[in-house]
């Protein structure tokens, strides 16, 4: 077996050193009844690279990869071009096969990129400080609500109807078990909800997504002021982080916590994971934050260096009183994010964002003229909602038969709401060509006829 270096002779000699006759005797503490004597049933013996590749490549071949067809899917996961050097760098063994930087003297590389990551996240969100990542946007959202509960010592979260249903559901699941209250406003495709009416003196936070799940972009400044006046915190969720290259950042609108899905920068679609949760807040709340933090310091010779810091918030020290149970986070995805963002820089990131918006405007204009298609979103970034004259899920399946991934039917994420059945979320990014857009327009025309 190519991954196992011990030879039979090694094993015999090592057993002799230990002073036992066989490996089985090392397992003598296992109750007799629980010892398996035969190899696991049904699993073939070890296999070479060729055989394993054949098996898994066969599964891969049964999927339609988004890059091979015109694709307009979003709803919290976005297909962007990732520069070739990103994947090259993250596969360097010193990054890929290292672990959490518990020994700072031999993990300055990881610590420094996490410090850069934290800075980039703070800059793009317009916040003071960010952590070294959480699992994804949805779990970050739930963590933010629990942090707001700690900060305000209240226990009721108000969620916008424009929040991604997965973010809402993860928050609700945590609420059920952790024991806090959630008021989730109904789905809000038109952007007309009045969240202030839902706030009372028990409200710890209001969570809004920008751009919203249905696409609208909103100025949250007034909402932030109103939420603060009630003694609550404003949490802003960003499911498409590229939007921060164009829009006024949540920090400038008065957000207290910003959570985001960072997948768009540096990370592939990966059928939904692994992704990277971004989490940023104000300096004054830093000791309430979940997750790891890297801080700057000096070494014994006075040279600048980095360490994990403020660890007393975390589970390995604080145990049942920790701010979160999180341990392993999304280190390598955060590295991919950092490298991609470094490659883009100020100019590149802003251009990428403008390009995305331009493509979406172009697509919206193209689709709006079609019979049976109405663009619902009056404002948007790179994703918008259209109302079709037929159920969106049926239309999407028809399009898929013609080799077009035409969008995400709202009903897939808001099932059971008849009023939303005709709504389709459509995204355009820098990867979409004019030909892609024509293909979608033609496909829709056919599917709706």
């Amino acid at each position: 077996m190519r991954y196992l270096p011990l030879t039979e002779a090694d094993r015999r000699s090592m057993l002799a050193t230990i002073g036992v006759p066989s490996v089985d005797s090392l397992f003598r503490d296992v109750p007799e009844a629980a010892r398996l004597s035969a190899p696991i049933e049904g699993l073939a013996p070890h296999a070479g690279e060729m055989e394993v590749e054949r098996t898994i490549a066969a599964m891969a071949a049964k999927n339609i990869s988004a890059g091979s067809v015109p694709s307009f899917l979003g709803a919290g996961a976005y297909r962007h071009h990732v520069p070739a050097s990103v994947d090259h760098l993250i596969q360097r063994g010193e990054f890929l096969t290292s672990y959490t930087p518990y020994q700072p003297e031999v993990t300055q590389g990881t610590l420094q990129y996490l410090f850069e990551f934290q800075t980039q996240v703070a800059l793009i969100t317009g916040m003071d400080v960010a952590n070294a990542s959480l699992y994804d946007g949805a779990t970050s959202c739930a963590e933010a609500v629990m942090m707001a509960n700690r900060v305000t010592r209240r226990g009721k979260a108000v969620l916008s109807g424009g929040l991604h249903p997965h973010y809402r559901d993860v928050t609700l699941t945590n609420a059920r078990f952790h024991g806090f209250e959630v008021v989730a406003a109904p789905a809000d495709p038109e952007g007309e909800e009045d969240l202030l009416a839902l706030i009372d003196d028990k409200t710890s936070c209001v969570v809004v997504q920008n751009p919203g799940f249905f696409g609208q972009v909103r100025d949250l400044t007034d909402l932030a002021a109103a939420v603060h006046a009630k003694g609550a915190l404003l949490i802003v969720a960003v499911a498409e982080v590229v939007s921060l290259g164009l829009l006024t950042p949540p920090g400038e609108m008065g957000a207290d916590i910003v959570v985001a899905e960072g997948q768009s920068i540096g990370n592939s679609l990966n059928f939904g994971g692994p992704y990277v949760g971004l989490f940023a807040t104000r300096d004054k709340y830093v000791r309430h934050m979940p997750g790891r933090l890297t801080g700057q310091t000096v070494d014994a010779e006075g040279r600048r260096g980095w360490v994990l810091t403020l660890s007393t918030r975390e589970q390995h020290i604080r145990r049942e009183k920790a701010t979160s149970n999180i341990c392993t986070n999304s280190g390598l995805c955060a590295l991919a994010f950092t490298i991609h963002m470094s490659l883009l820089g100020e100019e590149g990131f802003k251009r990428l964002a403008r390009l995305n918006h331009a493509k979406a405007v172009q697509l919206a204009d193209r689709l709006d003229g079609l019979k049976g298609v109405e663009v619902v979103s009056d404002s948007f970034f790179n994703e918008f909602t259209v109302r079709l004259k037929k159920p969106a899920s049926k239309v999407v399946n028809k399009l898929a038969k013609h080799g077009i991934l035409g969008g995400v039917p709202v009903s897939r994420l808001h099932p059971g709401d008849e009023a939303l059945a005709d709504l389709l979320l459509v995204t355009a990014t820098e990867t979409n060509t004019d030909a892609d857009m024509e293909a979608l327009a033609h496909g829709l025309k056919e599917a709706l006829s």
Partner: protein, 530 residues
């Protein structure tokens, strides 16, 4: 006062200031040959430069409603070669399993096969959107279902929840399942809020229990390093929801009484959660189902070798017993006549009605699933069993080769990790931390230290099956040499270590007293000072 954690002191610090690096290295640049000083990416800004060429957007009328376009962000501009050089240099400041033995106990730093990286990047797996119509992702769903099948087979359990994103997230899933099952059975959990957790447990266990609304009650260890069965029985009662037990435990020992523990827990109407962080010690040799376990997470980044990536991403599927099998998070894959499909909502016709909610966005860590499946298929039935055998053999070999110069905490045999404490350093003026730092200069990543908490100054060494005998012998020679050096009275050697690393000991106290958690441009630093 009730303390959690251990004591720390500032190390004596030398000079401060900008030229410290060059002063320490004795070179003009501060570099030491292949060891290169590297500023932050923000300090290499060349405004207007970018490493990505994107087309200029066509003219268009923005549709941003009332939102203004943002001003300057403050990101630096660099070309591609500069960025590649920057991150290559940073990578060279890291220790990694690719470069050497990484005996971090409980973390399972084993070889990460590159075939798995290649397969995870096949466009048919990496470039598929989670919301694509199910018909266009049958292979992806088949892959999840296949991995689920092997995880169930290897553990003997009837069900598995695939979506948790890491071990701690899996714990949350398992404890949520337990709470949901108790609510379903008894109508509420208000009467069962206590969770028993051994003192030696990972910090994630009590943190998870608390996150699920439970209170934590610690169970002591006995003199053999295992759960004290009588103490456990005495703590069981009709207010106990579950026990959370790691097996093999964090002392590297198999809980001999585990079946009796499971019986007692079940008799009390409670559930048995097993922290599966150490499943790599028994995979292919013991099935958790045969031990009476109700729920156990499997860290794919430990047992099944998906790369640790500097702290993730991980993946933590949770296998479940018959009693918990329906209490799963959404979504999950089902296999019907028309192929594979996803149950994403409780309103789905195929839902069982007992799902407890959702734990993360989308469907789980697909990229990790691909790697873990490739690992399982590569090893096969014989290889996986050999993995556990070699991991345990290697740990016992280390234990046998060091126990005369270091102090083993408990009688062996151990499982996949060897636990020592600091009694052998008594009177030397050298602590476990100092010893660890001296290991760094010898070219080794230190073991896990000061954990588990049940022994003083713990050294938890997990060599894994990846190490050859030659590699272990070299490590043993170094550990013996250092132990002898400490006892010979050369404390100085340890207190000043490490000396040859890119940075020497870092001032963690200063970092925590005045946290600097991001880079700030110098201009605004000056403004702030005014």
């Amino acid at each position: 006062m009730n303390t959690q954690g251990r004591k720390t002191h500032i190390d004596t610090l030398g000079v401060e200031g900008g030229n410290a690096a060059s002063a320490a290295a004795g070179t003009i640049s501060g570099n030491r040959a292949l060891m290169l000083e590297e500023p932050l990416i923000f300090e290499q800004d060349s405004p207007g430069t970018t490493g990505v060429d994107l087309p200029e957007p066509p003219t268009f009328k923005p549709r941003l409603g009332k939102v203004r376009e943002r001003g300057t962000i403050g990101l630096p501009g660099l070309s591609e070669p500069e960025v590649i050089r920057h991150y290559t240099r940073l990578s060279q400041k890291n220790f990694a399993i690719d470069s050497g033995l990484y005996p971090l106990g409980s973390c399972t730093m084993k070889h990460n096969p590159r075939l798995n990286e290649k397969l995870a990047r096949l466009p048919g797996l990496s470039d598929i959107h989670p919301m694509q119509p199910e018909r266009t992702v049958q292979g992806a769903l088949e892959l999840i279902d296949t991995l689920a099948h092997w995880l169930k087979t290897l553990t003997g359990m009837p069900a598995v929840a695939m979506s948790p994103a890491a071990g701690a997230h899996g714990e949350l899933c398992g404890m949520a399942a337990i709470r949901a099952a108790i609510e379903d059975r008894d109508g509420s959990t208000s009467h069962r809020r206590r969770v028993l957790v051994p003192e030696s447990a990972h910090g994630t266990n009590p943190a998870t229990a608390a996150a699920c609304g439970f209170t934590v009650d610690a169970i002591p260890a006995d003199a053999t390093g295992r759960v004290d069965l009588e103490a456990l029985k005495a703590k069981l009662g009709d207010d106990v929801a579950a026990i959370m037990l790691t097996n093999p435990n964090t002392c590297g020992l198999f809980e001999r009484d585990i079946i009796e523990i499971a019986d007692a827990v079940h008799k009390a109407g409670a559930f048995f959660y097993c922290d599966g962080a150490n499943f790599n010690a028994i995979v292919g040799r013991v099935r958790p189902a045969d031990l009476g376990i109700d729920a156990m997470h499997i860290n794919l980044h430990k047992t099944f070798s998906t790369p640790h990536g500097g702290g993730g991403p991980g993946s933590g599927p949770v296998v479940l017993s018959e009693a918990l099998a329906k209490f799963v998070p959404l979504p999950y894959v089902v296999h019907g006549e028309d192929g594979f499909s996803l149950v994403e909502s409780g309103e789905d016709d195929q839902a069982n009605g007992k799902e407890f909610g959702r734990l993360k966005g989308f469907h789980g860590q697909m990229g990790m699933f691909v790697r873990a499946l490739a690992y399982i298929l590569s090893h096969g039935a014989d290889g996986l069993r050999q993995v556990a055998s070699d991991a345990v053999l290697n740990a016992n070999y280390v234990m046998a080769s060091l126990k005369d110069v270091m102090t083993a905490s408990f009688e062996g045999p151990c499982m996949h990790e060897a636990l020592f404490d600091d009694r052998f350093l008594k009177g030397t003026g050298v602590t476990t931390l100092d010893f660890a730092k001296a290991m760094i200069d010898e070219g080794y990543h230190p073991m896990t230290m000061y954990f588990p908490l049940v022994v003083h100054g713990a050294f938890l060494i997990e060599p894994t099956e990846t190490e050859s005998k030659q590699s272990l012998d070299a490590f043993i020679r170094v550990m013996r040499g250092l132990a002898e050096r400490a006892r010979s009275g050369d404390a100085e050697h340890f207190l000043g270590a490490p000396r040859m690393t890119p940075r020497r000991r870092l001032d963690e106290t200063g970092a925590a007293r005045k946290p600097v958690l991001r880079w700030v441009p110098e201009v605004s630093q000056a403004e702030a000072a005014e």
